[in-house]
Structure formats: C-alpha cells, structure tokens
C-alpha cells in the first residue's frame, strides 16, 4: 500500500489544462482539410468516404467538403492535389448543424474565395438552447450509447475519464443509467440491430435532453454510410444537437463538442485569453 502511495506521488499530476489552456496537436496530425480556391481541386472520386462533392453554376465549379463525413485520411491533400488542399491542424470542429460542417469553395476562378465563411465558434456556442443551459446548469451527466461503432470513438470517450483528460474536473461525467443522464453521446452509424435499443435508451433519458453524435459514423454514416444494416447516421433516427467530426475525434475534440453542447465555451475561452 505504501509503495503504491509513493509511486502515485512520484508520478505527480498528469492532467492537461485543456480547455483553459490550448492543446497543440503534433505536426503530423490531420485536422480539417483546407481547400484553396483554384482550378486544381480534386474530383469527388478521390474521397473514399464520399465527403467531397461538386456542382456547377454561373460562378463556375463549386467543390464542397462535408466535415461530418470526412475520415481525415489525407488522400485529397496528397499528390497531385497537394497545392489545392492541405490537411489543417484544426480539431475543434463540433457544430450544432450539418450545414455548418460544409466547406464550399468556387474552384474555377482564383479570385473568388470561400463560398462559405468559416464558422463563428463563439456564436455557435451562444446558439445553445437557453432552456438546456438553465436546466442543466454547469454540470453534465452523459450516457454513452454505442450504436454500432468500430470502438475507436468509444475508446476516446473512455480516455476522457483517464488521469490525463479527467473530464470530471469540469463537472462532466458518464453515468450508468439513462435515467440519471442529461443527455447521450452516440457513437456509430446506428445499425439495424441496435436501432430499437438506441431509441429506447434515448427515450429513457428525462427531457430536456441533448444528443451528441461523436465521430464520422454517428455524424453522417461516415465510411459505413447507409445500407441494409446501417441507418447512415444518428440524425436518421433521432434529432441531434451537436455533431463532432473525426475518425475518431481526438479526446480534446470530443471535450470541445461537449462544451459546445452546454454552451460553456465562451466562458472557458475568456479564461484562456486572460
């Protein structure tokens, strides 16, 4: 026992400061792809996840990238499109609607820039329903729901509870019963074999409740998509409050999404700036 205690003291505090302090991902980290307007943007067939689409109108060729679908593989930023697309480092991508996760550029004229302006994260946080904030206050009890994930998102949710991320320090915890929860975090594209269980679990969470879709599969169907065994995303089955892109999202990205969900971001951001 004494040896354990000494060892624990020797290890010291390993918990990170995020979100009060910024988290800088390593150099090779693949965050949101950055599309540079110009004529060499890749065709949709480059993307294995179907995240890239295009259409033509009077302005020319529009190329859109759906961050909710993106699996951050980096293929669209590889030769020969490395000049047109770069893998960015931004991982704080969570948003209240799928629309906000669409990046669109006009591709035929280098003078025309992004057709969709970058998302205003603070405005996004302020959009949170004041009702949810009033009722849930500053603490959030969540129930995890695996709706057919590959287990990667689930592991990252578990990581949030490890001594490094320790989300309990922020008043966030994962509970065993939906009856004790303020909301659910859903991973996976909602398989046919889990659809009933998913619906019933969410119905068991008292109202008002929030639904957070974690990772590409939950947010859009991801690489799994829609098929005989998969609904193709949580919002095909239930209304979703927050979408967190990533395959899987790193733990800080999930934490960011949870904070977006409870509208606590602006406060944390201010603290960081002080």
């Amino acid at each position: 026992m004494l040896r354990i205690l000494i060892n624990a003291l020797r290890t010291g505090v390993v918990t990170i400061g995020y979100p009060a302090e910024p988290s800088v991902p390593p150099d090779r980290f693949r965050g949101a792809p950055v599309l540079r307007p110009g004529s060499h943007l890749p065709p949709p067939s480059v993307c294995p996840a179907g995240a890239i689409s295009e259409f033509f109108n009077a302005e020319g060729r529009h190329v859109a990238l759906d961050l909710a679908r993106c699996i951050f593989c980096g293929r669209c930023a590889d030769d020969p499109w490395a000049d047109a697309v770069g893998m960015g480092r931004d991982f704080e991508l969570a948003a209240h609607s799928r629309d906000h996760l669409r990046i669109e550029v006009v591709a035929d004229d280098a003078a025309v820039t992004a057709a969709r302006p970058a998302l205003d994260r603070d405005a996004e946080a302020a959009r949170t329903s004041s009702e949810i904030q009033r009722v849930l206050g500053r603490s959030l009890q969540l129930r995890h729901l695996d709706a057919g994930s590959c287990n990667a998102c689930d592991w990252e949710l578990t990581a949030l509870l490890n001594p490094v991320y320790d989300v309990r320090r922020l008043g966030i915890d994962f509970v065993a019963s939906p009856r004790h929860a303020d909301g659910v975090v859903v991973t996976g594209s909602v398989t046919r074999n889990l659809e009933t269980a998913v619906r019933r679990t969410v119905e068991a969470v008292p109202d008002p409740r929030i639904v957070i879709a974690v990772g590409a599969c939950a947010a859009s169907g991801g690489i799994v998509g829609e098929g005989y065994a998969s609904a193709g995303g949580v919002d095909r089955v239930l209304p979703v409050d927050v979408y967190i892109p990533g395959c899987p999202p790193r733990p800080e990205a999930i934490l960011f999404g949870i904070l977006v969900a409870i509208g606590r971001l602006d406060a944390r951001r201010l603290q960081r700036e002080e």
Binding site: I4, T11, V14, P25, P26, D27, R28, F29, R30, P48, A49, I71, F72, C73, G74, M87, H144, L145, D146, G148, S149, C150, N151, A152, D154, W155, E156, L157, T158, A159, L161, N162, P163, V164, F174, A176, S177, G188, S189, T191, R192, N193, L194, E195, T196, A197, T201, I223, V224, G225, E226, G227, Y228, A229, S230, A231, G232, C247, P248, R250
Partner: protein, 487 residues
C-alpha cells in the same frame, strides 16, 4: 489442421451458376509450413444446402450460421439453427450477401418475437439478462446468464449488434478505396486489419512492400499490440477492483496513443499502412521519441505488474478464474492471447509470416505459452510478457531500418478474378483475410475472420466455470472485439 475461415460466395451470375463455400484450413504444428488448404464445395442455387460440419469441427459453428443468414446456404443437421447475424424482424428469404440483393437500401426494423434464448428450468434457477446496452463505455452485446445462486449454469451470448454490412459495402469498390473500410472495421485493430487487407491485395497484384516499409509496418503492428495489451492489463485491474492498476494502465496506454498520434497523425495509427507499403516515414526525431516512450512504458509496466503480483486481493481474483481448457481451445480454434494462455502454441507472426517477419532473416520471436494455464491470471501474464516482447521487437526493427523506398505502385486496374489470403497476428490473435477481385479488378468479395470470432464461444465456456460477479473480469481477461466479430 485447424479451421482458419469459411468463405461463401455467390457465383450465380458467372458461368458456374452456383453458390460456393470454401472451408479454409491451416496446419497447427508450431512454425509449420505457411500454407492454407481450401476445400471447395459447389452448392446448387436451387437447393442451397450443405451438410453441417459443426459436430465434427466445433469451430465451424458460427461460420455455418452466418452463411445461412447472409447467403441462404443451409447447413443441414446444424445443432443450433438460430439466426446469428441478422436480428429480430429480418424479412424471410432475404439474403444480403447474395449478389442480386441491393445492399445500399435500409431494411426496416419490424416488431418481432423474443429471441429464443436457451432457458433452463428448475427450483432456484434464475435468468439474468445483461445488455445489449451496457452500463459502461463498452461495445454492445447481450448476455443471458442462467444461474443458481452465484454459480453460472449457462451463458448464452448474442452478438452482431454492431453488424454494419461492411463486407457488402466493400463489394464493387476499387480495392484502393475499399482499404479505408477495412482499416475501419475495428478501431483497436486498425493496423492489423489494414495490413491484412493490404497483404491480401498485394498478393493479387503480385507485388511486395519494400523492406523499409515492411519494418515500419511491423513496428506499427507491435505498437498496436502494445497499447492494447497495456490497456488490457489496466482493464483487468478494473475487473478486480484494483483502481491504482486501472489508472496506471490507462495512463500508460494514453502515452502510447499520444505516441501513435505523433507517428501517424492518428491515435489509432490510421493512415500509416497503405496498399503497397507505408505512407509516412520515421524520422530520427520520431525514433528518439519512440525510444523514450517505450523505455518509460517498460518500466511503468514492470512496476505495475510488481504491484499486481504483490497484491493478494488481486491475485486471488485472477487465479483459477474463468478457465478455458486446452482441448476446448483446440476444438474451437481459439486464437491469440487466449489460446497461448491455454497452452496452444500458435502465433501468426511465426506461422504465417507477415510484415518484417516475411523478409529474409526474420528476427527471432519468443512465443509465450502457458501449458497448464487457462485462467484469467494466465491471460494477464501472457499479455504482460508479450508487451515486453513487443518493446524488444520494435527496438530490433528500428535497428534494422535502412534507407529505401516506402511504397511500390500497384497496377491499375488490378488483375481480375484473383484471390488473396493473408493471416495477421493482431493484438487479439490471428485474423484471416480473404479477398477476390472481379473481372474488372474491383472487390468482388472480401471476408474477415477476426480472432474474436473464434474466441467468443470460448468466453461462454470460461464463464461457466465462474460466478456471476466475476463475469466482467473473465470477459476483460479475453478482451475481445465486438466490431471485428460483427463487421
């Protein structure tokens, strides 16, 4: 010979005009020839029946139930004819892996009768249903315990809740696109399954990854094993209510996943292994960071194992708990840690060399087996020893790195109508990949038999030697994947 995998295919639209079942066997002698033997059976599409092998080859059990659900091929005389992969309310006579079935549309969920679980009756016999949604952050499965007091009489495990139809999803794709699906069948086996798919594809293409790429692939494979094994040791501590161990395991695993993110840009090492080789190189800086992290992991793991072994309350919980008999492990063709902890000397790194083991002068591999083991303690011991072996191997691979190309280009389109089979030692044991291209060089059929697929029935057997409150511990000691079983 042991059953490696069973692959059904729908060839009704080809000149053969039939369904086929391939029973793939492999030698069981340690280090025996790297060979698969396929028994090919042509099945009449008008009367799709094959005799069931399950009573003679117990490992065929789930394979046969799966081919009935997905292909409508009936294993006549099967002892357990309940559905396996498709669940309640699945329409009669609809077989999703038949070529005529359009896999892109959703099949609605209909109300259905309760699944016919095996029930025991008698005074004092209780049924305890658990799942599919569990109390923690874990994958979904339903466990139906029949118990008397605390003693488990029978465990009926129902899985395939995370069945996503991924094999169908890959059909018709360019093999290079389908790779991204294979890499995402399972999060914590991303390297192993990505690599298994690549090696099968490279066989079809008739190319081999360059030496430097092979070494980096093997480094990635060992790093995946390492973060899994270290995390699993911690998780087993959770099952034994030893919280210092849980937190330490989680902390060590976290450091390894942060290392993964530095090496590959992804905490599960996704995006490193690609068809033809590897996408990213290891710079001197990264190699230094790798060496430091592995050194710290080694001392952290040694200290954790010291605490576990010195703690009678933990050792008591693990010793003689959840026993898997050697013969049962052989009969069920159990793989990986669970097999070796029950004295079955199998390791695909040696038996079907891949990655750096496939090159000339492969490094020596110490396969850890415990001849009189079979309990949770043995599975923990095997994991701890294998984690150390992985650290040693990574050092060896790094020493062998020579400058050179990282990738070979695959021909496009790929040769049509060819089959590739590979076996990879994933963190949970041997995973067998079977891939065939269509005449245009696209994916015609892909099938993954994960180690967990063969190991799940063994969990039920081991649970029947334990008491109900020890089930979480028994389950964690096997640490199987649901997602790579269900696909």
């Amino acid at each position: 010979m042991a059953l490696a995998t069973v692959v059904a295919t729908d060839e009704t639209a080809t000149p053969d005009g039939d369904l086929k079942v391939r029973y793939v066997f492999e030698p069981t002698a340690p280090g025996g020839p790297d060979r698969f033997v396929t028994l090919l059976v042509s099945v009449d599409a008008a009367r799709p029946e094959v005799p069931s092998l399950t009573t003679a080859v117990p490992a065929a059990n789930w394979h046969e139930r799966e081919m009935r659900d997905l292909f409508g091929i009936v294993p006549v005389g099967h002892p357990d004819p309940r559905p396996l992969v498709v669940h309640d309310g699945w329409p009669q006579g609809v077989f999703p892996l038949r070529k005529a079935f359009d896999g892109s549309r959703r099949v609605p969920v209909e109300p259905a009768d309760e699944f016919p679980h095996l029930v025991a009756e008698g005074e004092g016999v209780f049924e305890i249903p658990v799942g599919p949604i569990h109390a923690g952050i874990i994958e979904p499965g339903h466990f139906r315990f029949t118990s008397v007091g605390e003693t488990v009489l029978h465990l009926d495990a129902r899985l395939f809740y995370t069945h996503r139809g991924l094999e169908k999803r890959m059909e018709g794709l360019s093999p290079l696109d389908a790779f991204y699906v294979a890499e995402r069948i399972c999060g914590v086996c991303s390297v192993a399954h990505g690599l298994g798919y690549c090696e099968a594809l490279e066989q079809i293409a008739g190319v081999g990854a360059p030496p430097r790429a092979r070494l980096i692939r093997s480094i990635a494979l060992e790093l995946e094993r390492l973060y899994n094994h270290v995390g699993d040791v911690g998780n087993m501590c959770a099952g034994a209510a030893f919280h210092y161990g849980t937190a330490t395991g989680a902390r060590l695993k976290e450091r390894l996943q942060q290392l993964n993110e530095r090496l590959a840009g992804n905490r599960f090492l996704r995006g490193l292994v690609v068809p033809g080789g590897v996408l990213l190189d290891l710079s001197d800086d990264l190699l230094r960071s790798l060496a430091v992290t592995l050194q710290d992991t080694l001392s952290g793991l040694d200290s954790l194992m010291g605490h576990i072994e010195a703690n009678p309350s933990v050792v008591d919980r693990l010793d003689d708990t959840g026993i898997l008999q050697h013969q049962a492990a052989v009969d069920l063709a159990v793989a990986g840690v669970a097999a070796r902890a029950s004295g079955v000397d199998r390791d695909a790194r040696r038996d079907h060399p891949h990655g750096a083991f496939a090159g000339p002068e492969p490094p020596e591999l110490h396969v850890v087996t415990i001849p009189d083991g079979g309990d949770a303690m043995s599975r923990m011991t095997v994991r701890a020893l294998e984690a150390r072996e992985s650290i040693r191997l990574v050092g060896e691979f790094v020493r062998r790195l020579e400058p050179g190309p990282l990738q070979v280009t695959l021909p496009e389109p790929l040769p049509g109508g060819r089959i590739g089979i590979s076996a990879i030692e994933s963190p949970r044991g041997e995973a067998v990949h079977w891939l065939r291209t269509d005449p245009r060089g696209r994916v015609e059929r892909y099938h993954l038999r994960s180690p967990s697929y063969h190991n799940w029935p063994a969990v039920a057997l081991a649970a029947e030697t334990a008491i109900v409150p020890d089930f979480p511990l028994v389950n964690k000691s096997f640490e199987l994947c649901y997602s790579c079983t269900d696909r």
